[in-house]
Amino acid sequence: MTSQLFAYKRETGQWGLRNHVLILPLHSALASSARAIADASNGAVAISHDWSGEVDNDLPRILFTLTGYAANPNNYAVVFLSIGTPNEKQIIAGAQSLGLTRFTTLSLPEIGSMEKLQEKAISVANEYMKGAVAEKRIAAPWSAIVLGLECGGSDALSGITANPALGVASDRLVELGATSVLGETTEILGAEHLLAARAIDPEVGKKIVAMVARYEASINYEGIDIRGAQPSRGNIEGGLSTLEEKSLGAAKKAGNAPFTGVLEFGEKPVVPGLYFMDTPGHDIEQLAGFGAGHINVVVFTSGRGTPTGSAIMPTIKVSTNTPMFESIPDLIDLDAGTIADGVETLAQVGDRIFDEILEVANGKETKAELGGHHEFALSRMYNTVV
């Protein structure tokens, strides 16, 4: 197969691996309409969320997430659905400053009817879709790939099969000049000293340790015994006994490359390399943070299986064990369980994941894309106060 990457060049210099037209509701009351508009259009996608414009401690985090998500380079264009609050205008202006050039804002109060809003949105979306479909991919450098590393529903084979195999693929990509981002602060707790030891300089190492300490302090502040949730009941059934065990296995997704830097939730990496992003362990919230951070392709390893996908980022699912792969073949793209069975080596599966990332980057649809799995969830730190 070819080892050349082809992608869509954006004016910011970033690259899109998809050319999505995203219907983005700026208020939860428009979420169902956004889905209906996407379903009725010729290929647009939508997300829904539960933010109703509330102004509280989480406002900056929510605005940052939606702004970054709108400007993700996998979006060819965005149709914003608005009810006209100042915070909504801030999201649109922010996305523009991050490089979003093609967008239309449709305001419910201005249009005056939900039916007319939907009709108008479908026609705008279809117009954008024509342009999106007509645009040709061009040869792109490896730096065009910004890979997100995720795991969910870990089992005891995660740290032996799928995660280290993904680490092999991630290392190859980073070596070639791409970017790779490890998330899930919950799931490096107990392994952070190993990641910090791989930082490109002591400053970055300190930041990795500090991010985990900040998380640990917030958990202690709330008086939670996190061991009730981490490892989760499913993890425990799968054979994981402690949070550290889960973390040692989860960190293997990031291979052995040096860490270039750390990213706050939803922050985008600027220079290529391997990064750690402070995200929750919640798979869908993490995906939202990855989208906001301009990650354009995700590999998601799972021991227990998951339908998770994203409206804008192709998400490649890798099973840690063969029985799970065989039980839900319509959800999982690749099986790494062959490593435990001695059928394939870690390097062989790592190469298969690498090849799959390239093919998917070049347009091959993932199982989650084919199934239309478009999950999205906002991450909050505080109680909602209205």
């Binding site: 190993l194 640990e216 061991r227 006994s241 402690t242 949070l243 550290e244 064990n321 435990a340 069975d341």
Partner: protein, 91 residues
Amino acid sequence: MRKVLILHPSDNIAVCLIDLVAGDVIEQDGFRISVLNNIPRGHKIASRDIAKSEGIIKYGERMGHAVTSIKLGEHVHVHNILGDRLSTEAS
């Protein structure tokens, strides 16, 4: 085919690659373990005797500690080990 996997030379546990049944004997890679409990695939089996409070080592790294003494061949899981971090256990 191997029945268990020892991931690092300093580990005191092995990962079961198949469902093990009490009474099974594992003979591979120059070691021999008599299995003391039924242990599901993916779970851990003690590859050495482990004293109470001793660290549990997997991938060559500490992943918690024993809350009771654990015999070679015993199932190692939440009933006999705990993580070290974020612990609310009484000391």
